[in-house]
């Protein structure tokens, strides 16, 4: 018989207050912005609330599961995600010119989203499994594990997601101790390969990069998104136009204003000050995540926590960079604010894993 105290220790204690409260704050902010961005559509807010319910359960489930138990399932999950990606390539549903969705009975999933979590977990699991005898061969194996799904996602084509998956995998390699020289070499090779990459890019991708340099060049075409979101942010000013009073989104000038471009709505209505509050809260979560990584008891725990925290930052930075016009337009949701079930669940799984790593650090030590 479990006492109430024991039950509490097992079910509630793992929920790290810093991560939990900050997430709640950010989600509250998310609902406020979503209500405005959706044009006061309570249906959309309710739907996001359902997503959040699901996400909380996933977070909680991850938080109460010790890292070593998670570790056991990472390879099967990776394999499932990989098979799903292959499935997408073969039978996926085409939408907006890209093959991203897979129908599994009534459920429609985007395997690339699953891979965002599965890849860093699998790589961390691999390094944990290899223990202390890590050599350069292990990095080669890890690189293959990384590049196969990335290549599949690039083929969809979804360059943005592929780069994010690659980056989340790369953080694991980095924390696992990938030699600085190799990284320097990769960076140089990347620069050298740019002309070639440019050549294989799709026209729309080239256009997005070109319009980044000058969005006003094609204001009604590829530059439209960027220009309108820049107008939204810029017109918001220091303190914003006020909740529900952003004209850019309410009058439909802003595309994707509940999903990828919701930051523009936020910035327009709450201004630079609001954005700084959001960024500060994000940094609290990210710093907390890195702190947790630092105190992780096993390499797996450290690598996973470090990678997930950095991925969270990457999402935040890429999304804000895209909306403010310093990065090309890629389909990256903004954590906590963007509408969408999959990304929300993925986000809270990450936070759940961070909580698990934190909560179980001493247990493992013992």
């Amino acid at each position: 018989m479990l006492t109430i105290k024991e039950l509490r220790a097992r079910l509630v204690a793992p929920l790290d207050p810093t991560l939990f409260n900050t997430s709640l704050l950010l989600m509250a902010l998310g609902f406020v912005v979503l209500y405005s961005a959706s044009g006061s559509d309570m249906g959309k807010v309710a739907s996001q609330a359902r997503n959040l319910g699901l996400a909380f359960m996933a977070m909680w489930a991850m938080a109460i599961t010790p890292p070593h138990k998670i570790e056991r399932v990472v390879f099967p999950v990776y394999v499932v995600a990989l098979v799903a990606l292959v499935g997408v390539a073969l039978f996926g549903e085409v939408s907006h010119g890209a093959r991203r969705w897979l129908h599994m009975g009534p459920v429609r999933i985007q395997p690339s989203e699953l891979m965002k979590i599965a890849l860093p977990l699998a790589l961390a699991g691999y390094f944990e499994w290899r223990g202390k005898a890590i050599t350069w061969r292990d990095f080669v194996v890890a690189a293959v594990l990384l590049l196969v799904p990335v290549a599949l996602v690039i083929r969809q084509p979804d360059l943005g997601t592929a780069l994010l998956i690659a980056s989340s995998g790369f953080y694991v390699l980095y924390f696992a101790g990938l030699s600085w020289k190799v990284m320097g070499g990769l960076f140089a090779a990347g620069l050298a390969a740019m002309p070639f990459v440019w050549h294989v890019l799709h026209d729309y991708q080239k256009k997005r990069i070109l319009t980044l340099l000058d969005p006003s060049q094609d204001p009604l075409g590829a530059g439209y998104h960027t220009l309108q979101s820049m107008i939204a942010l810029g017109s918001g000013g220091l303190i914003g136009k006020g909740w529900l009073r952003g004209t850019q989104s309410h009058l439909d000038f802003l595309p994707e204003h509940t999903t990828d471009f919701i930051f523009a709505v936020f910035g327009e209505e709450f201004g630079l000050l609001g954005e700084m509050v959001f960024l500060a809260a994000m940094l609290v979560i990210i710093t907390r995540g890195l702190f947790i990584a630092n105190e992780g008891s096993t390499p797996f725990a450290r690598l996973v926590a470090g990678s997930l925290s950095m991925t969270l930052f990457t999402y935040t930075f890429v999304n804000m960079g895209m909306v403010s016009g310093i990065l090309p337009v890629v389909g990256v949701p903004l954590p906590f604010l963007s509408y969408g079930g999959t990304s929300l669940v993925t986000l809270f799984i990450s936070i759940g894993i961070l909580m698990s790593v934190h909560h179980h650090r001493k247990l493992v030590k013992q």
């Binding site: 101790g177 309108q228 810029g234 000013g237 004209t247 850019q248 009058l251 630079l272 960079g321």
Partner: protein
């Protein structure tokens, strides 16, 4: 053992280093992001604020209601009726033929609707919506509304359409409005009125509608409308109401106008009736007319061809622009000139053998009556319209004296009526001929000028004005069509001031003499005795005939042997009541033969209607040239 103990420590140290490096990177990237956001939201805030405002606010012009045109008694001659128009926006509709075919299953779309639509589309270069159907019925609107979801770019617009309730009556006088074309646009640009006409599609083209465009148009209002990315208005932010155009009250009596038009029947011609004391134009007829309603939304090709190619030339404003030899209608003024200049006394008699010829010349200037009128004094010369008398009088006066006198009565110059496109007519002089043809003046040209032939040309309006001036005893009033303008903004009515053009120095007794002779024209023995018969008021009148083709020496003009279009024009001028003139009138009937038989009866009907309120019948084509008194 040492290794296993040291390794985790080493690992942790390595890990921490890498964490620190990434933390540094995060810090740098966050600074970069913040710098960007500060740049956008603080430094460039003004710029983007302006862009956002431009994005969302569009200024929508509100077209003012066009002023009404009323007759002198308040009867509506031009108004605005609400109507529903079906418009297609080519930018959003997709393939036009498909859309039009789809529409034609819902509403009637005639081939001429299609043609007109294409024409309007060409005019706007396909950039703005063009109407395909006007005046939709309620059933059609219902059908369209139900099917609207599958018809992108198709809109039903409620708008006011200019309507001319009198149809073709007074068409030349009122004119019409039509779509603004490139010429109109250029003119508006020149006058800096482009902003005033934002949203306005139509502009006055002719007649009162054209001349008084500025009064009728009104002041365009505007509305600041918040729009979405699709350009659809979401809500109104601010509004400046338009000021409706001013209402015009004309000097025209619509009933008299219609009565006069009715009197013309099928005849072509013109009639101008003026109130002598004021210069107010009571009726302004040019027959045949046209239906100005056809022009409002662009006339279709078939109707245009019908109007433009008709031999009757319905688009010609004969009263204003038709220049005709005035013929014998100028004889009273010739007589007045002779008296005023002291060249003839009233009792001076001329022997009329049926022709006039210069001494030593065999060329005969024929009188209309073969064998002549015998001994003719001034009174008889007017009553019987004796040509020979005026041949010799002209010869005595000389062309320059005649030119100077007639110029005072408005010949050869525009009357200055408030209508555009007026023709000035012509009264020749020696100097004029020298300038125009570089030739000397011939005496024979003076002689025929004496009976209003040769170079002399006058518009019906000028003849009416000359008659009004005579009736007004030499005081020439500016003829005008607009009597008062009602300001829609303030509701005040501004009566336009009367304008005296000039006062011709005349002796009362001379005027009385000429007037009395003209009264006798309408009595038994006069050339318009038939038309004057049974009048309960006294009419001063004068008949006239204008040759269309010359009659050669030794030949006789025969009406029955001349093709209808080559027949003489019939003229008649009059004022009544003779002692207290209330109305002066000039009538021209193209190819009507002689003035007494057609033009005078039309004038009589108009006078009866105006002075007595009598009903009007169309004057039949009178071919009974047997009545001597009805000649010339």
């Amino acid at each position: 053992m040492r290794q296993t103990l040291r390794n985790p420590q080493e690992e942790r140290w390595q890990f921490q280093l890498r964490l620190k490096v990434l933390s540094g990177l995060i810090f740098v990237l966050c600074l970069l992001l913040l710098a960007r956001l500060v740049w956008l939201q603080v430094v460039s805030h003004g710029y983007y604020h302006t862009l956002a405002e431009a994005n969302r606010i569009s200024i929508v012009p509100i077209v003012p209601n066009r002023g009404l045109i009323l007759d002198r008694n308040g009867a509506v001659m031009a108004e605005n009726n609400s109507t529903y128009t079906l418009e297609i926006n080519p930018a959003r509709s997709g393939d036009l033929d498909t859309v039009i075919n789809q529409l034609s299953t819902l509403v009637t779309i005639t081939p001429s609707d299609r043609k007109l639509f294409r024409k309007l589309l060409d005019e706007t270069h396909g950039l703005s919506p063009a109407p395909i159907r006007n005046r939709l019925t309620e059933a059609e609107i219902a059908r369209l509304s139900v099917n609207r979801y599958r018809l992108p770019g198709v809109d039903i617009q409620a708008r006011l359409i200019r309507t001319y309730p009198l149809g073709s009556s007074a068409s030349h006088l009122i004119g019409y409005i039509g779509r603004i074309n490139q010429d109109d646009q250029d003119r508006l640009d020149d006058q800096n009125l482009t902003d005033q006409y934002r949203g306005t599609n139509h502009i006055g083209k002719l007649g009162i509608e054209g001349r008084y465009e500025q009064e009728l148009h009104g002041i365009t209002g505007s509305e600041q409308v918040e729009t979405d990315a699709g350009g659809h208005g979401v809500r109104s932010l601010a509004r400046i109401d338009p000021v409706a155009g001013n209402d015009l009250t004309l000097t025209i009596d619509a009933n008299l106008q219609q009565a006069a038009e009715k009197a013309f029947g099928e005849h072509r011609g013109a009639l101008v009736a003026i109130e002598p004391a004021t210069g107010e134009i009571l009726a302004f007829v040019s027959q045949p007319g046209f239906d100005p309603n056809l022009f409002v939304d662009g006339i279709d090709q078939d109707n245009w061809n019908a109007l433009n190619n008709s031999p009757d030339k319905p688009l010609n404003n004969r009263a204003l622009r038709g220049q005709y030899p005035p013929g014998s209608t100028i004889k009273p003024l010739m007589a007045l000139a002779a008296l005023t200049l002291g060249k003839r006394s009233t009792t001076f008699k001329v022997s009329d053998p049926g022709y006039f010829s210069f001494p030593g010349s065999s060329h005969r200037y024929r009188d209309w009556r073969e064998g002549g009128h015998g001994m003719v004094d001034m009174h008889l010369s007017i009553v019987q319209s004796c040509d020979t008398y005026y041949y010799s009088l002209a010869n005595d006066l000389g062309i320059d004296a005649m030119h100077d006198f007639f110029t005072q009565f408005g010949f050869g110059q525009k009357t200055g009526i408030d209508m555009d496109g007026e023709m000035s007519g012509l009264y020749p002089s020696i100097e004029w001929k020298q300038k125009r043809f570089k030739q000397d003046w011939y005496g024979g040209e003076t002689v025929i000028s004496g009976i209003g032939q040769g170079y002399v040309l006058a518009t019906p309006l000028q003849l009416a004005q000359a008659m009004a001036t005579l009736a007004n005893r030499g005081i020439m009033m500016r003829p005008h069509l607009v009597r008062a303008i009602r300001d829609r903004a303030t509701g005040t009515v501004r009566t336009l001031p009367l304008e005296t053009v000039r006062t011709v120095p005349l002796k009362e007794t001379d005027v009385d003499f000429v007037r009395d002779a003209m009264v006798d024209v309408m009595k038994p023995g006069g050339t318009a005795a038939q038309a004057g018969a049974g009048a309960t008021y006294s009419i001063a009148g004068k008949t006239g005939t204008a040759q269309v083709v010359g009659v050669r020496q030794g030949e006789k003009y025969s009406e029955s042997h001349t093709a209808e279009r080559n027949r003489d024009h019939a003229l008649f001028v009059a004022f009544a009541p003779a002692d207290q003139p209330k109305i002066a009138v000039a009538v021209l009937v193209e190819n009507g033969g002689h003035g007494g038989s057609i033009a005078a009866p039309i004038a009589r009907q108009v006078l009866d209607f105006y002075l007595l309120g009598q009903k009007v019948k169309a004057v039949p084509d009178a071919n009974d040239a047997g009545d001597d008194s009805a000649h010339d």
